[in-house]
Symmetry: C2
Subunit: 601 residues, 2 copies
Amino acid sequence: MRTSIATVSLSGSLTEKLTAAARAGFDGVEIFENDLLASPLSPEEIRARCADLGLSIDLYQPMRDIEAVPADEFSRNLRRARHKFELMRRLGADTVLVCSSVSPLAEDDDALAARQLRRLAELAADFGIRVAYEALAWGRHVRTYDHAWRIVEAAGHPALGTCLDSFHILARGSDPKGIEDIPGEKIFFLQLADAPQMAMDVLQWSRHYRCFPGQGGFDIAGFLGHVMRAGYRGPLSLEVFNDVFRQAEAGPTAVDAQRSLLALQEATGLATPPAPVVPTGIAFAELVTPDVEPVSALLSALGFGRTARHRSKPVDLWQQGAARVLVNTGPAARRAGTSLAAVGLESPDPAAAARRAEALLAPVLPRRRALEDAPLEAVAAPDGTELFFCAARPELPDWRGDFADLEVDADAPGRAPAHGVTRVDHLALTQPWHQFDEAALFHRSVLGLNAQDSVDVADPYGLHRSRAVTNADGSVRIALSVGPAPTDDGARAQHIAFATEDVVATARRFRAAGGRLLRIPANYYDDLAARYEFADGELETYRELGILYDRDAGGAFRHCYTETVGRVFFELVQRDAGHRGYGAQNAPVRLAAQHAGRPVR
Amino acid sequence: MRTSIATVSLSGSLTEKLTAAARAGFDGVEIFENDLLASPLSPEEIRARCADLGLSIDLYQPMRDIEAVPADEFSRNLRRARHKFELMRRLGADTVLVCSSVSPLAEDDDALAARQLRRLAELAADFGIRVAYEALAWGRHVRTYDHAWRIVEAAGHPALGTCLDSFHILARGSDPKGIEDIPGEKIFFLQLADAPQMAMDVLQWSRHYRCFPGQGGFDIAGFLGHVMRAGYRGPLSLEVFNDVFRQAEAGPTAVDAQRSLLALQEATGLATPPAPVVPTGIAFAELVTPDVEPVSALLSALGFGRTARHRSKPVDLWQQGAARVLVNTGPAARRAGTSLAAVGLESPDPAAAARRAEALLAPVLPRRRALEDAPLEAVAAPDGTELFFCAARPELPDWRGDFADLEVDADAPGRAPAHGVTRVDHLALTQPWHQFDEAALFHRSVLGLNAQDSVDVADPYGLHRSRAVTNADGSVRIALSVGPAPTDDGARAQHIAFATEDVVATARRFRAAGGRLLRIPANYYDDLAARYEFADGELETYRELGILYDRDAGGAFRHCYTETVGRVFFELVQRDAGHRGYGAQNAPVRLAAQHAGRPVR
């Protein structure tokens, strides 16, 4: 299907928006009137710019408050419409969106609405223009798609059809099945937008919180199915009003928008990109650091051993059980400070995983970072983290082959005995402020992971949001979160949580090896005592070590935290098999404790 | 009345919150449980800290999901309560808030709820503690204050009373008059919060958008009147959950909270601070600039003459009609860049205006900036702008006396003939991101100005909000606005709008004098032609000069803009007498044009 995007969905000047839409592969655009008014380009210049960029102008929008008004008002509206039709002729746009009236002058008179829309369509036809009439969810009298369609049908003019907008229809809880009763050729246009499920005034909801399909809570694929069965063959067009997208860079937003349409077409059977290849484990996490000493000390105290070194680059492999951490002290480290730069995902078919990622517009990275390296498929996540698809089958080229085993000296710091860490439980990545919804959609559509519900977490200095993406057996878990404001972007925290079957034992060994755990206030443990019953001494042990505790129907979750180096810290996690959480209940206490360890801002 | 504030209303650690509350003059606090849990201080240490700060602990909150549950669940709840009562004894808090249950286990059985709450009150009484039961607006079965009160009454225990929360009551649209039927001594606690009128899920509304009384849309004064007539004599306590306050510095937020309670008590007749002295005009606007040349060139081209110089400081007075601009090139200018640093407000009684401001916690500035200056009363607005109260009566000391008239040379740049500017139409000040609601409340309560409705304005790179405060005759108009994100705080725009009775003539003289007006796209004028009918040539003149046009029932508004120097630009305004707007309709086009003149970020 052809894809289109409304210019109002993107940030910036009209030319920035057009460029971003074209680069992201859209076939056309809806031109939002205010974007045209604010542009220094003439309609002819905009037309030429779109042609140069390979974009068609699929819709000019919106015309408002046209129909069902007294005769003198309507003649003023026709005068206004004539001006706009002239403009559209200069622009080369052949379809105009007319929203159902919100004017206090509008009468509740469908026959009058139909007569006046017919008159408008007659005028439009003189210009070779089609009028697409849409029910706003908050229209004065016309609020539902079937009502708008009845008026269009009654008007009976070939230049008059309807425009369907998934937000207006689904936000009102209308049953979209009735769309199949509308002849496909009378559906002149289709606008798609998702939105988080919010019980709020529908106008505010629409103006501030729309998002791209798959980012919200509506069944857009089901909706689209009805529209396709009605016989619609026009473009799939995104019209999204969102306070965050207004501020975000247009380029990445447009790519994310296009990705959402690709995933939507796949879900509706309209497109068949390469199937997702769900990762089956975390092969490694790669830290970059300009200052290797604190990171090495932490890993040693956690019981990791430095077991191998990259054959050509300053990268060490630290390992304990199936948990592997690469520590990279190369040039990137000096730019980024200590941070989590890359993740190796075990994949049953790395090449297919990369094809999927490329088809869904993930930026593909060079397959080899050095000539002699094993070729590894890799893409960049929206937050810049490099995701490597690593062979889960022994016959495929493997990253491990780039590393030479170290002769571990008995006295070397990397030689400490294993402390019970078995694997990576999860990775926690704080996202850039403008890219939280984008990140969840990326991990779902590109990697085939499932997203859990978003939760709010109160930090002493603002509200965080957090959302986890996982595979079915929990062997890949990534917790995505976002801070309260874009000002916090510079110091985005990241952490690696290691699984242990006995967090108390592992924490004790860590401390015995000189590691320092985050101090948790005594008041927290008094509250635990009020909420749960513990075996004798259990709570005292948690209190002594700074272990946090949560429990739900799936079992218990016990965890504790190391100090922070650069942007990175580590967590030790003992997770009952049925527990799917990440300690969100304890996050305010943990965040406060981490703030307490830093200078007050 | 005693004033109190819930720690959840403020940002930071518990000790930061307590310090901010005490410094802002609160008598007590509600301790929010999560703030205590996250604090490294023991309950005894918190008690001592509060005592040192002169704060009583008026409430411990909240206990949840206690009542109307099966017996085994209730016995677990009593166990939990006993822990909390022990904690409260250590803390020295004698009242606990119990919210109506949201648990799926809760039964719709008032008699059971009453029996269990009575049992809880018996246990509380053993600890010398009182239980204040409150209806959450989203409680499972108990959602209204009268329902909660019926259960409290049925329970009939002296240690059990009710807590009233203005948000929960007004958000549900309950009639607060019935509060007068509750015996005052059974109202154990009163929580006050305002909120903007929003049709949204009440839980989300409550958790994210509460604000201080006077900042929102509820009639909190009327509500408080009912509570006082019921005989309540406890503290007035603020419990405000707000995403922005969570991020803002606690100190200013606490002062703003206290100011809102002072204004509320005044509105309810509970306090009589000095009456507001509404300013009657703009005496001057003061620009600071490290680079006087571009500012002088702009003012000259606008037709201002440099008419006087400060006797002891590098400050010039530029004047045209009743519009006066001070240009200050002193040391402050080198720190601030070119910006609007101070406003002189004409006041019928500057000393009384200053007493009002001081009583409402406005930071009072030194009366003389230099020894030889006339004493001038001044306070700082939340955005740091200095507000001077200037004598509107000739017998009072006057700022003008500090200035010596200049012998204006016929060839001096300040000598250009007047261009039709009569006075300052309005000042536009972009507020720090965290202080928009605070700023409106400040200008209303401290200066006695009226606030107009808040409007959203789409900038190409994000949504702005704008709200004007004015006196009754419009001789003082200040447009407060806020950008889309705290990251924009550094370059907060400010402008001075000058009134003219003929914007075309003034604009032409400005251009003839070498001034450059902001270029407005031709598309904007094509749209004007579609929307309005103009006299022959009128629209062409606007198009030529870049004059923007708006019209409503009150008449027309014509305006145009100069280029920007530092953070400051100027606007020329021709306002029909009945028009109360500021060109919000045109702001997106103006903002886009201003962005187009700058490097793209």
